[in-house]
Every structure is written in structure tokens, then in C-alpha cells.
């Protein structure tokens, strides 16, 4: 085949994507070396001053990063367990299979930020239905204004929202599995539990890895939920990296420093996601 054609197919997309992105990326790097803030807007050059500040003098950034890791890993883990269970149940014949499939898909179709607004009223301490229900047991937890419960609230909303995406990816995977291994296992008289452990789960390993990585990528961007539900509060108890960068950059207008954090954060994300992908591949593929 003539080599010219392939570029006609590939290049429009590639050029548009690079064309839109090239300025923002270069600009972020340049901005991170400047002291742009609201008193002094402009691209002056301050060297690596911002990076020194980030690495030596800003525990809040690193706290928000570890908080983000905790939230992302917890929510994705829960989503994987619940999503796999639900997908496995509606994979085979149960009553109203298609009804449940549609129902389980719905949360991912809804706008997170809008559903979070609803969740916020749901968690409301005196007027919300959750505490109304819990008052039967005589407790009135402060869902959004105590540090521990605020984290749990965010986890609940994230799990509600995104388990359906995990469910979709895993169900699509289950439906694409070949039939022969299951037939062989049935002939050998394997119990349902053994069938799951030795046939279904290993066959699903590559799909599981893909789904977990995709969800980790998306979960690392948690922002909408935090923004509406708690605004990072109480204090900084639910502040994630994205939210902290947002505050510094677009609320306090320390653009230069925010760019430094953005760039550092991006590098950390790319490295850690690559490592996680490699480790997961090793662990899940071996079983």
C-alpha cells in the first residue's frame, strides 16, 4: 500500500489534538518558571524558585496528594468489587436481567456535579433523608462537616457514580469470554465457586486490569464531587490535588505556582500510573 494514504488518515486527528494542546503544555512549563500572581501578572523568570517552594515548603500539596491517592484507591477498589459482583450476577440468567442492567448503567450517565448537588441535600444534617432515617437509631452524624465522615460521603458519592462504569466494562468483558473453558469446567464437575476462581477470574484478568487503570485515571481527577459536596472542607480534610491547584491558581491567582504544581502532579501521575499498570499486570496475570 502506498505510504501517503496512511498519513492522510492519521494526521488530521493528530494535528488537531497537538494543535490544541501544544500551547497549553509549553505554556504550563514556562509559567511554572515565573512568579505570575495577582500583584505581578506577567511572565517574568524566577528560575526553579517555585519548584523549591513546592518540594521544601508546602506540606499541604503533599497531604492533598496522599489524600487523593487514598480516595482514588479506596473508591476504585470498592467499585471493582461491587462492579464485578453485579456484572457476574446479571451476566447469567436472573429474573429481569435487562431491567437490572439498565438500572446499574444509569449512574454513569448522570452529570456528577448535578447528582452531587442532590447528594448534598441528601446528606443535609437536619433536613436530609439520611439523618431522618438514622434518627430512628438516635444518631445524627454530621456527614459533611466532620473530617472523617466528609471523606466517607465523598467515597459514597464516587462509588454511586462510577461503579456503573466499572460494571459496564466488566460486563462487556464477561460477555465476550469464550464458552469452551466453562463447558470443560462443567464436564469436570467444578463447583460454581471453583469455576469462578479458576476459569472466570483468570480469563477476566486482562479486562480487569484495563478497567481498573481506566477508573484510576478518571478517579485521580476527582474534582466535581469535592467542589460541590464539601469544597475541600472541613478545613482541608477532603482537599485533593486538583482542588488545591484550583484554589491556588484560579482563586488566589498564583498562576506561576499553580503551574508548577500542575506540572509536578502530571509527572507524578504518569509515573505512578505506569507503575500501577505494570504491577497489576504482574499480579493478576500470574493467577
Amino acid at each position: 500500500m502506498n505510504f501517503k494514504h496512511k498519513f492522510v488518515f492519521l494526521l488530521p486527528g493528530l494535528i488537531v489534538l497537538i494543535g490544541i494542546l501544544i500551547f497549553p503544555i509549553i505554556f504550563t512549563v514556562r509559567l511554572s518558571l515565573s512568579g505570575w500572581n495577582s500583584y505581578n501578572p506577567g511572565l517574568d523568570f524566577v528560575g526553579i524558585k517555585n519548584y523549591i517552594r513546592l518540594f521544601t515548603d508546602d506540606p499541604r500539596f503533599w497531604e492533598s496528594f496522599f489524600r487523593l491517592s487514598f480516595l482514588a484507591i479506596t473508591t476504585v477498589f470498592l467499585q471493582y468489587i461491587i462492579g464485578f459482583f453485579l456484572a457476574h450476577v446479571v451476566w447469567k440468567d436472573i429474573k429481569f436481567k435487562r431491567f437490572f442492567r439498565v438500572l446499574f448503567l444509569i449512574p454513569m450517565m448522570t452529570t456528577p456535579v448535578i447528582m452531587t448537588v442532590i447528594w448534598r441535600t441528601f446528606f443535609h444534617e437536619s433536613l436530609g433523608p439520611l439523618n431522618d432515617f438514622l434518627s430512628i437509631f438516635g444518631v445524627q452524624p454530621q456527614w459533611l462537616s466532620s473530617p472523617g465522615l466528609a471523606k466517607i460521603s465523598i467515597i459514597v458519592v464516587e462509588v454511586w457514580q462510577w461503579t456503573s462504569f466499572m460494571f459496564l466494562l466488566l460486563l462487556a468483558g464477561l460477555l465476550s469470554l469464550p464458552k469452551e473453558p466453562f463447558l470443560a469446567a462443567s464436564i469436570d464437575g467444578a463447583s460454581p465457586f471453583k469455576k469462578f476462581m479458576y476459569v472466570t477470574f483468570p480469563l477476566m484478568a486482562p479486562i480487569s486490569i484495563g478497567a481498573i487503570i481506566i477508573r484510576l485515571i478518571e478517579a485521580s481527577k476527582i474534582m466535581d464531587t469535592v467542589f460541590v459536596l464539601t469544597s475541600g472542607g472541613p478545613g482541608t480534610a477532603t482537599e485533593t490535588s486538583s482542588f488545591y491547584i484550583f484554589i491556588k491558581g484560579l482563586r488566589e491567582f498564583q498562576m506561576g505556582y499553580a503551574a508548577t504544581m500542575s506540572f509536578t502532579y502530571l509527572i507524578i501521575m504518569i509515573i505512578s500510573l505506569t507503575i500501577i499498570a505494570k504491577v497489576l499486570t504482574k499480579v493478576l496475570m500470574k493467577e
Partner: protein, 282 residues
Amino acid sequence: MPKLYTFLKYFCVILWSCFVIAPFLWAISTSFKDFNSVTGGATYIPWLQFEPTLDGWSVLFKPGSQGGINIIGPYFNSIFVTFTASFISIALGTLAAYALSRYTFKAGFVQNNDITFFFISQRIMPPVVLSIPFFIFLSTIGLLDSLAGLILVYIVLLMPIAVWIMVDFFNRVPKEIDETALIDGCNPFQAFFKVVLPNSIPGMIVAGLFCIIFGWIDFFFAFILTFTNVQLLPVKIVALNSSITPWWSLSAAALVSVAPLIIVAFIVERFLSKGNLTGALK
């Protein structure tokens, strides 16, 4: 033992179903309340526990000058931006995915997989990282607070999804299809547009659905990059969430805004049950 298992299975499924439905039921109930029935504590059943009114719904369609919220403009903005950006992403993404699936590229150490990864890796970018430079970029070229500016940004969000789904899809379309067309005397473009493309419609629909979902549910870029000229639906609704929140109109607006995509859930399920989605989503 099997009986216990079946019972547990249904129990868990129904429990999860309740969890999924709960916020919707709460929103539906709240949307028919007024100030007094909201501040009086949590109530659920209309007529029995509170007197339902349509205030929360009617205020959505009144212009701002009459104390309304008027979500119709933002609604059409959202639809326009989502569909345009999805269409462009699918068109460009499908072409690129076809090239990546059928031809070999090599430039130094860069190969097909690396180019595919480059496309998909754009999803790793946290919106906040891009928002600051995009803000300055769009204001430089005069597209801040405009539909065109938002569409540009959404293409970056959506094209990775289109490429991801379409590369997998084309990898499963047998190569013989295009080879036969080429032997029959088509040039590569004719082979693509006349033979491959008509066979790829299921894949493109799936990719399109995902682009629409992820375009429709975005909030952050619309929040940062638009102010008053152009408002998208999520921004408009979140703006209601201020100190004195009108829970009733907020709930009504939320329901109106999530309704269209519920239809998408039905379509996705159809594809899933017919087996068309399986390869497209691995």
C-alpha cells in the same frame, strides 16, 4: 446451599438497586415541595406529608426578569457543544484509528502503539492542569466565554475516547474486507469510505455514545472557561447551589438535565445484549 446463594444474590442486587434509585426518588419528591415543606424536615410522600406544588418546575422556564431561572438557553448550549465536539472527535478519531489499525508507522522509536497511547493518554490530564493555560490561550485568541472555545477544549476531552474505542473496533474488523476492495480496484480512500465505513457503524455509534456521555457530564471546563455569554447546563444548575438554595427548583433542574442521558443507558444496554459492545470496550 444453592438456595441460600440465590437468595443472597437477589438480596444484594435489590439492595444496590435501592441505592441507585434513592437520590432520584429524593429529587423527584423534593422538586414538588416549596420553602415550608423543605425547611420543615425530611418528608417523602406528596399529599400525605406535604402539599405538592409545581413552583420548582415552572420557575425553570421563566426568563430571569420574572424571577425565573430559564434553563432553556443553557440546555441548547449544552446540546450544541456536546454534539458538535462529539461529531468532530468521532470523524477525526475514526480516521486516525483506521490508520493506526491498518498501517504501520515508524519514526525512530515511535511506533503505532506509542501513537495510540499518545491519543489515549490525554485522558490522564487533570482538567485543572489544562484549565489555566486554556484560560489564557482562549482569551488570547478571543474565544473565552464562547461556544467555539468550549468545543475546541471538548475535542481534547473526547477524541481520546473515540480513538480508544475505534482502534479496538477496527482491530476486530477482518482485514480481508479492505483487501478485497483494493483488489477490486478501489483506491484506499474509496475502500475506506465505501466498504469499511459502512461496516463500522456499530463501533461509531458506541464511540459516539461515550463521547456524548463524557461531553455532557463535564462541568469543570465549562465552569472555568465561560461566564455570562455562554452558560452550559451543569454550570447553571450548580450556580443555584448558593447560600439559600432553592432545593425544589434545583431538584427539578437536575432531573431535567439528567433525563436525556437515561435514554442512552437503554441504548447501551441494547448494544451490550446484542453483543456489539463487547469488542468495542476492551
